[in-house]
Amino acid sequence: MSKNLKKDATTFPIPTTTWRIVRGNPAIWAIFGLVIIFSSIVPEKFLSTSNLVAILKNFAVTSMLAVGPTFVILLGSIDVSYMGIWMFGGALVWLLYPYLGLASILIYPVFGLLIGLFNGIVHVKAKIPSFILTLAMTAVLAFLTTYVRNISGVLTLTVPAYNFLRESPIPYLPAPFLLALPTIILAVFLMFFTKLGTYLCAIGSNEEGAKLAGINVEKYKILAFMFSGFLVGLGSIAIFVHLGNQTRVDFDPSELVRGLAAIVLGGTPLAGGMGGPHRTLLGALVYVLIFNGLFLLPGVDPNHLKLYIGALLMGAVIIASKALKGALIT
């Protein structure tokens, strides 16, 4: 009879849709809190048009790194190859521009998809832990990017021909943000309107149950890595444009942290099973608001920001692993 100890569902009040959304996305509270704090301490700096535009740009960059890998984290695996895709994808665009012309930018998503396919197959078939695998992938691709720069004897891998992309047709909405929109829409669509999102959550929360429900677990794991790579590739176009039509040529671990921080702050636990790209978008906004706000505060040394961000990620992981346990669901 001990099973009857559990509270019967009929005793709970029916939650409204709005309340469910707020309860399911704790990052919303954080966003409200941060906006209120910063706009009351440094209102004229924080609420200036140029700052709000900067926030949008940074939001685009951060979310483009994080939205794709969220699909893999839903599985309970991890994909940190986004740094490599972003860096070397840009190098490929630079290398192929003389041959393909403007179309060479499309190399980005194709390259991302291929890397994702490779990661997925090796992870699933050879049973290599995803963190080691994708970290090694990033190391290899980052090295190749630096190598391309070194042998070609230029300082940056810039393709000035894409300058027209930097002009936004809509005032106040920066070009990188507009370029990020397709990726955002695609990710949210995949999560909510196709069975992919549901299946990935199912595998992440109860792999045996997912198998018994007739889900082809291996196939969907590989698909998760493919979409992760594809979305990172597609999103990297926005970053490419944001950085002045060039890619990054030096590996910086704090950029790696940025993606993971957005995912974890948004409320997708690294153990998988719940959350999704919608939460990662909120998490990216939290991250950008903290970064931006701290930068504006008097007495905060901008050189120390990366330190704070690293500490922030650690804190977020600890809090998320405690608070998210079962209490909050998509």
Binding site: M1, S2, K3, N4, L5, K6, K7, D8, A9, T10, F12, P13, I14, P15, R20, F192, F193, T194, K195, T198, C201, A202, S205, N206, E208, G209, K211, L212, A213, G214, I215, N216, V217, G273, M274, G326, I329
Partner: protein
């Protein structure tokens, strides 16, 4: 009543959970010196609740406790129960396999044998030796628990229970009291031979101890008890003193299950026999063999027919079921679904595509507990809730998903406020209804049932049977693997008796009931 022999009386015990579920309703039992007292009943009859009250895990809502004629308060925790000389050996999870015997024996009791933080090993081993000699347990103290046969493991657990009582009451008192050892379905994991050995041991120990034997295996209860209490739905429904009266197994069985109408439940849903014969064979298994598990299994299942695979644990029934839905693969043989042969090596998702589904009573295998009901139902029914506005992409319609779940909640009378309710907050029976509901909606050609009603109470069970029988009527073929003979009697048209991996005999429903005396 013989006052001299009276040890413990629990009077008018009632216990309600959450102000709704009456687990125990005015139950009175007495325990005498040096006897084996059986408390029998179905799952959910209240046996475990009663035992947990006696050992201080639960507090009763009302009732009184007398020890040797003297009123005492109910134990507030297991330690207090030990001080009264009451200890329990749980059904499972008792043994820690990777500890040595003496380590396990003294687990949690080390505090009394530690000097300056150092464990006094010689003393522990010395005590262990003398206890084992006294109780007649034969085993090497230095071996690991997992190396011992299961029956010996149980005996070590009992020795541990007795030892804990002695240490709790102190040396001087220990010789005066009669320990009461509660055995919660102790024979469940044991084989037939091990059971005999185990009971011989218990009978020896009866000289100095009293046992409360919690079980639902009737022949054992009849053979080894001195007295029997029967619980049903939280009430005491019968009492037998086997020294003064004779009880038949039949009678006891009827008392345990109460309103036994299983035959009726089956026959109500049974369609005409002739019709059944005419239906096409949907699944045919030919010479299926997996070394070490089963060999040469051949049978066929018609549309709307339920075939039970029946036999003791280890007879290969669950392995055959697992092979059919693709979790393990057979070495040789054929599986033919609807006239088409399927590969004997394949995965569950391939099997589901050809029409073999799998329903288990273990909610952990079926449900995503932190998901809302609607998603748990739609997980196997995506084709019913997607729209195809573009040729390539299937887009989920939330409206269709919600309607589907709403319909299921109404149809199966799932007690939940909305389709958004997360499954972990549902009661056991309602969880089961959600998982059976998704398969009802799916209605695959063939459904494999493995322990479909494990761990839920009687009322909820009948609801599940009703759903399964409805699917059967719709033409879903089923294969049942279970531990409960009654379940076979309710659901199956044909029962295949397995032993050591081979088919011994095939019964029809009527024959099966006669053989099992149901």
């Amino acid at each position: 009543m013989d006052m001299q022999n009276q040890l413990l009386i629990a009077k008018n015990i009632s216990k309600t959970f959450d102000n709704v579920v009456r687990a125990l309703d005015g139950v009175t039992i007495d325990v005498r010196r040096n006897e084996v007292l059986s408390v029998v009943g179905e799952n959910g009859a209240g046996k475990s609740t009663l035992m947990k009250i006696l050992v201080g895990v639960y507090q009763p809502d009302s009732g009184e406790l007398y020890y040797e004629g003297e009123k005492i308060p109910f134990p507030k925790n297991p330690m207090e129960a030990l001080e009264r000389g009451i200890s329990i050996v749980y059904q499972e999870r008792g043994v820690i396999p990777h500890l040595k015997v003496y380590q396990f024996l003294f687990l949690g009791l080390e505090g009394k044998f530690t000097r300056l933080g150092r464990l006094q090993l010689e003393k522990i081993i010395g005590i262990a030796k003398s206890v084992f000699d006294e109780l007649g347990v034969k085993c090497d103290l230095g071996s690991y628990m997992y190396e011992l046969p299961l029956s010996t493991q149980k005996m070590v657990e009992i020795a541990r229970a007795i030892l804990s009582i002695r240490l709790a009451v102190g040396d001087s008192e220990a010789s005066k009291i009669t320990p009461i050892i509660i055995l919660d379905e102790p024979t469940a994991p044991l084989s037939i031979e091990e059971r005999d050995e185990f009971f011989q041991y218990i009978l020896n120990l009866k000289k100095n101890n009293s046992f409360i034997f919690v079980s639902h295996i009737i022949p054992e209860v009849m053979k080894f008890s001195d007295r029997i209490y029967v619980l049903r739905d939280g009430k005491l429904v019968a009492y037998h003193d086997l020294s003064t009266e004779k009880v038949t197994e039949d009678q006891l069985f009827r008392e345990i299950v109460g309103r036994v109408s299983y035959y009726e439940l089956y026959s109500v849903h049974e369609y005409g026999k002739a019709e059944a014969e005419n239906r096409p064979i949907i699944l045919s298994v030919q010479n299926l063999t997996k070394k070490g598990y089963y060999s040469n299994i051949t049978f066929g299942v018609r549309e709307g027919e339920c075939v039970g695979l029946f036999g003791p644990a280890g007879c290969g029934k669950s392995e055959i079921a697992k092979t059919l839905y693709g979790e393990i693969s057979a070495d040789s043989g054929k599986i033919i679904v609807d006239g088409k042969e399927v590969k004997i090596k394949s995965e569950p998702h391939v099997r589901l595509r050809v029409g073999i589904g799998y329903f288990s009573g273990e909610t952990g295998k079926e449900l995503f507990l932190y998901w809302p009901i609607r998603k748990n139902i739609s997980i196997v029914n995506f084709e019913k809730i997607v729209r195809k506005p573009f040729k390539i992409a299937s887009v989920i319609s939330f409206k269709a998903e919600k309607e589907l779940a709403d319909r299921m909640i109404k149809k199966l009378r799932i007690r939940a406020p909305s389709v958004e309710t997360e499954c972990y907050s549902l009661s056991g029976g309602n969880k089961q209804k959600v998982s059976v509901g998704k398969w009802l909606e799916k209605s695959p050609k063939i459904l494999i049932l493995e322990d479909p009603t494990i761990g839920i109470d009687v009322g909820a069970r009948e609801d599940i049977y009703e759903v399964l029988l409805e699917m059967k009527k719709k033409g879903v073929a089923m294969i049942l693997v279970s531990d409960d003979p009654k379940e076979y009697a309710i659901l199956c048209d044909k029962i295949i008796l397995l032993r050591e991996g081979t088919i011994q005999k095939v019964y029809d429903n009527g024959e099966f009931r006669r053989v099992m005396e149901l």
